[in-house]
């Protein structure tokens, strides 16, 4: 195909595809021909290497239509996202506050566990109980604390990932899905995942066993299933 035929066909195809700014495109391809001719290529060769005008026009159409369509929607989308971000922002703040609360709980539980187990009783906050009960309750609460700490860590990473995925989604809506969407689940290495899982299982197991053991021992020691009445707790 000669240069003049190529450009004519391209113009026709661009027109058929309702592509805007056709003159600018044709200038670019005209220049391409001129450079290549100056390098000694024949017009037919150049046209063949450029690709079919129909395909080129289709590429322009595919890239053009969504972007001009998108532009009109962008203002609306920005407004909508402004409001959405306000609410989602509150959600994320609450979620992070929850993480902090859970972290504080786990630290408290761990400290309580240690003070019970080590018979450390500041200000007589801990009511009376035989030391064996204290140790068992201590172990139980200690591992409850570990469990809560693991939960805190996981929740933190989960919320962080959720935030990232949300930002990615919002970015995608503006840029016409340029990026792959992100997973909403945090990505741990398989080693970290195995560690978290077995640590959580062990914590849960020790917590349960120690709690039941503490209850059984206390009930036998006090001679009553509701041992806390015998030891005058909660009065």
């Amino acid at each position: 195909m000669k240069k003049i035929d190529y450009l004519k066909t391209l113009q026709k195809e661009l027109n058929n595809n309702h592509v805007a700014g056709i003159d600018e495109i044709l200038v670019e391809y005209d220049e391409h021909f001129n450079y290549k001719i100056a390098d000694g290529y024949s017009e037919e060769e150049i046209a063949a290497k450029l690709g079919k005008p129909e395909q080129i026009a289709a590429q322009f159409a595919a890239m053009d239509t969504p972007s001009s369509y998108r532009r009109g929607n962008k203002i609306l989308a920005a407004l909508g996202f402004g409001f959405l971000d306000l609410f989602i922002g509150i959600f994320f703040i609450l979620a992070y506050v929850w993480v902090i609360g859970m972290g504080v709980f786990s630290i408290t539980a761990i400290l309580t566990g240690f003070s019970l187990g080590l018979n450390f009783n500041p200000g007589h906050l801990v009511p009376f109980m035989p030391w064996q009960s204290a140790v068992l309750f201590g172990i139980s609460i200690l591992f409850l604390g570990f469990l809560a700490a693991l939960g805190t860590i996981y929740l933190y990473f989960y919320i962080r990932q959720l935030g990232k995925a949300f930002v990615q989604w919002q970015k995608n809506t503006f840029s016409g899905n340029m990026y792959p969407p992100l997973s909403t689940n945090p990505l741990f290495s398989s080693k970290a995942r195995r560690f978290l899982r077995s640590a959580a299982q062990i914590s849960l197991l020790v917590f349960g066993i120690a709690l039941i053991a503490a209850y059984i021992f206390s009930a036998i020691h006090a001679g009553n299933l509701e041992f806390w009445h015998v030891w005058h707790w909660f009065v």
Binding site: I25, V27, E28, Y29, E31, H32, Y35, I46, K49, L50, G51, Q55, I56, Q59, F60, A62, M63, D64, S67, S68, S175, Y179
Partner: protein
């Protein structure tokens, strides 16, 4: 190579070339089609898309005495986009490489 793969990567390549220095369209088309097996005309639609997305702008320059050439240059947005995409691409291919070689280890 699959054509769909290439299209996604071409945008990144164009940004990379323009990150080094400003070019006119023909320059970019030549640079890429000498290295990657695509038709010469494919680069121009990509340049136009990058322009309409605000990643690049154009200016006219009459440096070599000939007719004015339309040069493409990265905008601040384009530069930011390139550096981020480059980062994402590098970590992406690292993982793909890992997966590919892990697969061959298991077979051995």
């Amino acid at each position: 190579m699959n054509i769909q793969y290439k299209k996604g990567v071409l945008e990144l390549c164009v940004l990379a070339i323009l990150y080094r220095h400003d070019c006119y369209g023909y320059d970019i088309s030549e640079f890429i089609s000498k290295r990657i097996d695509i038709s010469d005309g494919t680069v121009y639609p990509i340049l136009r898309k990058l322009k309409s997305d605000g990643m690049v702008t154009t200016y006219l320059s009459e440096d070599s005495g000939g007719p004015p050439r339309k040069y493409y240059t990265l905008t601040d947005l384009g530069e930011k986009e390139f550096l981020q995409s480059k980062e994402e691409w590098s970590s992406f291919i690292r993982v793909v490489e890992e997966i590919l070689t892990e697969g061959s280890h298991e077979k051995n």
